[in-house]
Amino acid sequence: MINDKNSQKIVDFISNWARKHSIWVLGYGTGCGAIEIPPTMTSRYDAERLGIRGAATPRQADVLLITGYLTTKTLKRVIRVYEQMQDPKYVVGFGSCTINGGMYYDSYNTINVLDKYLPVDVYINGCMPRPEAVLSGFGKLQQLIGEGKANGATKYKENLEWYRANQKKVIPNWVMPEYNW
C-alpha cells in the first residue's frame, strides 16, 4: 500500500513528526561541557517540555550528545556506542572542541574535527554552550528531523569505508565488532 510515492510521503511526515517530539538523548559527557546538561534537563530550562530527555542505554537512545573533546581513547568507545544505536539516530556535537578542537587544538591526544569520524547532524558552538544554546541546537535538530534532513546515519552507512579509514588512522589497535546493519 505504501509503495506509491505520495503515501510514502505521508508516512514519512507522520513518523518524522513523531520522532522530532520524542528525542531520547544519550549524553556522552566526558568533556567539561557536560556540566551544562543538568541545568538544561532540570527545572530552570526544563528540556523535557520539548520532548528531550535522557536515555539509559545506547539501544534506547535517538541522539548521541557528545559534550566536548574526545581523546582517541574515548573516540573508540563513542564509535562503538554509536554503532550500537538503533535507527533513527542522530549525533549532536556540543562545544568548540568537537568543531575545531577548541582550546585543545594542539593536544597530542584529542581529535579535533568530529565529523571526520562520525556523521554530525547538528553542531552547537560555544565553550561551553549555555543551556539556551543547547536548546536552540536541539530546536534546529527537531527542525531538521521534521524536514527529513537529519540523515547522518544514512550518510554513515553509505560512506562507511571513508569513516572507517579515518577512524583507523587514529585508533591503530582496532578490536571492535563489525556490525552489519
Binding site: N100, G101, Y105, Y108, N109, N112, N166, N173
Partner: protein, 191 residues
C-alpha cells in the same frame, strides 16, 4: 617558632644520616626540601617514613630539565603529626632514566610510577604493572617531555578545520552579522 625548631631538627637529622643530601630550606612556611642521589632514595624515604613520621606520600612528580639533560623526580611527603611537607628530589640521566621501584614503601607509588613511565619514559626496575596506563595504543615518544612538540604531532595525526588562523573576535563578527551595536558594558571586553 615551634615549627622552626622542628624543621631544624629534621634537617639536622637527615643531614647527619645522609652526608650528601643537599638542602634548600629557606622556606617561610612548613616546607622542607632535599636533593639526594638516586641510589639512596629508598633509604632516605624509608628513614623519613619510619623515623621522622612522614607517613603520607602525597605525590611523585617529575621535572624535565631539558637544557641540563636531566629528569628530576620529586617525592612529596607529608607528616600529619608535625604538619610539615618534605620534598625529596633526585636527578636522573635524561637519555637513560632508570631508578628503583618504590611501591613496597607506599603502595600508591605504583600508580605514580606507572604515570611517570608513560609520560616521561622513566623506567622503574622491578615495577610490576601493565605497560599501558592512561594512554591507549600510544606509539609516539613520552608526551610530557619538553622536546615533544605536541602541536606538530597533533597537526600530522589529526584533521584540522581551517579558520582558526585569523583569531577573529566572535563578538564583533556576530554584531556585524546581526547589524547590532556592541553594548557599552561589553565594549571593554572586545579586542
Amino acid at each position: 617558632m615551634q615549627e622552626k625548631k622542628i624543621k631544624n631538627k629534621i634537617i639536622k637529622r637527615v643531614k647527619t644520616n645522609f652526608k650528601d643530601a643537599r638542602d634548600r630550606n629557606d622556606f617561610k612556611y612548613n616546607r622542607l626540601d632535599f636533593s639526594v642521589k638516586k641510589e639512596i632514595i629508598p633509604s632516605v624515604l624509608f628513614y623519613l617514613k619510619d623515623e621522622m613520621g612522614f607517613i603520607h606520600l602525597s605525590h611523585i612528580s617529575c621535572v624535565d630539565w631539558l637544557e641540563e639533560g636531566e629528569l628530576e623526580v620529586v617525592f612529596i611527603l607529608w607528616s600529619p603529626e608535625e604538619k610539615i611537607k618534605v620534598f625529596v628530589r633526585t636527578r636522573l640521566d635524561r637519555d637513560n632514566p632508570v631508578m628503583d621501584n618504590l611501591d613496597m614503601i607506599w603502595r600508591q607509588a605504583n600508580t605514580y610510577e606507572r604515570e611517570l613511565r608513560e609520560m616521561y619514559g622513566i623506567q622503574f626496575t622491578g615495577l610490576e604493572a601493565p605497560d599501558e596506563f592512561i594512554l591507549e595504543d600510544w606509539q609516539g615518544p613520552p608526551p610530557m617531555r619538553r622536546d615533544f612538540d605536541t602541536e606538530a604531532y597533533s597537526n600530522e595525526t589529526y584533521f584540522h578545520r581551517p579558520g582558526r588562523e585569523d583569531a577573529e573576535d566572535v563578538r564583533e563578527t556576530i554584531t556585524k552579522r546581526s547589524g547590532e551595536d556592541i553594548p557599552d558594558f561589553a565594549k571593554k571586553y572586545s579586542r
